[in-house]
C-alpha cells in the first residue's frame, strides 16, 4: 500500500480523494452561507452550532485543513514533476486543438484559489480562532446579540474584497469545470466520461461558485448599514 501512494497513479488517486472532500465541503459551506440571504437568525444559529460543536471543531476542521494543504502541496509537487518530464519546449504548440483551457491551467486556477484561501483565512478564520480560543469567548455574542451575521455583512461592504471574491470564484468555477470529472477518471471510474455526470459536473461548477458570488453581491449591494 505504501508503494501505491508513491506511484504517479497513487498520487493522482490521493489528489482526487482530497478534491472530493473539498467539493463536499464547498457544498455545505454554500448551504450555510445561503441562509444569510434568507434568514439572518437561521444563519446565526447554524454558525454558532458549527463554530462551537466539538465534532465540527476538533474532527472535521482539522480534516478540512489537512485536505486543503494536502491538495495544493500535492498539486505543486505533481506540477513540478510534470514540468521536469517535459523536454525542450515546442516552438509551436496548439493546445486548444485537443483540450480545454481549464484542463491545461489547473495550476493557475488553483493558485488563485490558494490566494483566495489565504485572504479568506485572514478575513474570517483567524479572527474567529482568536475570539474563541485565544480570548476564550465561546458565547458567539456581541452586545448581547449573535455576532456572526453582523460580521459577515460588515466584511462585504468593501468593494475591493467583493471584487477579489468574485474573481476567485470565477477561477474556482474553471478549476471545477475540469476538476469535477477529472477526479472520477483519476479514481479509475469512467463515469466522469458519461453524459450524466458531465452535465452534473458542469452544473456544480457553475452553480456553486455563482452561489457564493450572489451572496457576496447581495450583502454588498442591499445590506448597507
Amino acid at each position: 500500500m505504501g508503494g501505491f501512494f508513491k506511484s504517479s497513479i497513487g498520487r493522482k488517486v490521493a489528489m482526487a480523494l482530497s478534491a472530493f472532500f473539498l467539493m463536499f465541503f464547498l457544498l455545505q459551506h454554500l448551504f450555510i452561507n445561503m441562509l444569510s440571504v434568507f434568514s439572518p437568525d437561521a444563519f446565526n444559529e447554524v454558525s454558532h452550532f458549527m463554530g462551537t460543536n466539538p465534532l465540527v471543531q476538533y474532527a472535521l476542521q482539522p480534516v478540512l485543513i489537512f485536505a486543503v494543504v494536502f491538495h495544493f502541496v500535492m498539486g505543486f509537487i505533481l506540477e513540478l514533476k510534470n514540468k521536469k518530464a517535459n523536454g525542450v519546449a515546442y516552438a509551436r504548440n496548439n493546445g486548444a486543438a485537443n483540450s480545454t483551457w481549464s484542463s491545461r491551467n489547473m495550476i493557475y486556477s488553483g493558485l488563485v484559489i490558494l490566494a483566495f484561501i489565504v485572504l479568506h483565512f485572514i478575513d474570517f478564520w483567524i479572527p474567529e480562532i482568536n475570539t474563541k480560543y485565544i480570548v476564550g469567548d465561546m458565547s458567539g455574542l456581541h452586545n448581547g446579540e449573535f455576532r456572526y451575521y453582523h460580521e459577515l455583512v460588515e466584511k462585504f461592504q468593501n468593494p475591493l474584497r467583493v471584487g477579489a471574491y468574485v474573481i476567485s470564484f470565477v477561477l474556482l468555477g474553471l478549476h471545477l469545470a475540469h476538476g469535477f470529472t477529472s477526479a472520477f477518471q483519476s479514481m479509475g471510474s469512467t463515469a466522469g466520461r458519461k453524459k450524466n455526470l458531465q452535465a452534473f459536473g458542469k452544473a456544480y461548477s457553475i452553480i456553486v461558485p455563482l452561489g457564493f458570488v450572489i451572496i457576496a453581491l447581495f450583502h454588498h449591494l442591499f445590506n448597507n448599514h
Binding site: G87, A91, S103, G188, R193
Partner: protein
C-alpha cells in the same frame, strides 16, 4: 503547392538544435507528408547539404515509427492518422509549416526529428507480455470463451502502435495512454489474469522511473492518438493498480 518549412535541426543528441527555414516548391496535394519531406531531402542532398533525419518504416500507419510534431500537433492537424498517412491536401499553397520532434525528457532527440523511444520498450519489457509456452503445444484458440465485448475492447487497446504521440501531445509528457492500452489489452482477457497484479505494478513503476509525467486528464492524448485509443484505458489501468495494491 509552394511551402515554407520551419524544421528543428540538431546534429546529434549532445548538440544544441535550432529551427531552420526551408522552401519547397511544386508539392502535389496527393503526396503524403513524408513524401513532401523526401522532396525536401532530395533538394538538400543535391545542394550538398545534410538531409533532415526523420523516423519512418512502413509508411502505412502500422509500425509507429514516424513521429513529427506538425504545426503544434502530434502527427499534424488530421485526426486518426500517423504522419506517414497525413496528406498534403490538409495544407494550403503558401502555408508555413512548423515541424518539430516529439518532445519529452524521456524521448531524447537523437538527430533532427528522430527521438529515442526505447523508454517505451523498457516499459513493455517490465510486464507487457503473458508467460505461456508457445513452442509446439499451442492451445486451440477457441477453447477459452471470451465475451464479444471484452474481445472487442482488448482488440481496440491492442491497436496501439507505440508511436508516442500521446506523450508528445501531453502537457505533462505522461505515457499513461500508452501504458493504459498495454495494461488493458491483457487485463481484459483471461490469459492476462495470472500476472495481472505484477504487470500493472511493474509497468507503472518503470513508467515512473523513465521520467514520464502524471496524467491530469486533459484528454489531449486521446484526440491526437492515430489509433483512437480511449481514455477509458487509463481509468482501467488506475483500477488495476488499485486492485493490485489491496491484494
Amino acid at each position: 503547392m509552394n511551402l515554407t518549412l520551419k524544421i528543428w535541426r540538431q546534429a546529434d543528441s549532445s548538440s544544441k538544435g535550432q529551427m531552420v527555414d526551408y522552401k519547397v516548391t511544386e508539392i502535389s496535394e496527393h503526396m503524403s507528408f513524408l513524401e513532401m519531406m523526401d522532396v525536401l531531402n532530395e533538394q538538400l542532398v543535391n545542394s550538398g547539404e545534410e538531409p533532415v533525419a526523420f523516423d519512418h518504416d512502413c509508411r502505412e500507419g502500422i509500425c509507429g515509427m514516424c513521429s513529427m510534431y506538425i504545426n503544434g500537433e502530434a502527427h499534424g492537424p488530421d485526426r486518426g492518422v500517423t504522419t506517414c498517412q497525413l496528406h498534403m491536401r490538409m495544407f494550403k499553397d503558401g502555408d508555413t509549416i512548423t515541424i518539430e520532434p516529439f518532445r519529452a525528457a524521456a524521448f531524447p532527440v537523437i538527430k533532427d526529428l528522430v527521438v529515442d523511444r526505447t523508454s517505451f520498450e523498457r516499459i513493455q519489457q517490465a510486464g507487457g507480455y503473458i508467460s505461456v509456452n508457445t513452442s509446439g503445444n499451442t492451445q486451440d484458440a477457441n477453447s477459452i470463451p471470451i465475451s464479444k465485448h471484452a474481445a472487442d475492447e482488448a482488440m481496440d487497446a491492442a491497436t496501439c502502435i507505440g508511436c508516442g504521440a500521446c506523450v508528445a501531445t501531453c502537457k505533462n509528457s505522461s505515457a499513461m495512454l500508452f501504458v493504459g492500452a498495454k495494461v488493458s489489452q491483457y487485463a481484459l482477457l483471461p490469459q492476462g489474469q495470472v500476472e495481472a497484479a505484477d504487470r500493472v505494478q511493474n509497468m507503472v513503476a518503470q513508467m515512473d522511473l523513465e521520467g514520464f509525467g502524471n496524467c491530469t486528464n486533459t484528454g489531449a492524448c486521446e484526440v491526437e492518438c492515430p489509433k483512437g485509443i480511449s481514455l477509458d484505458n487509463i481509468a482501467r489501468m488506475n483500477r488495476e493498480l488499485m486492485k493490485a495494491a489491496v491484494k
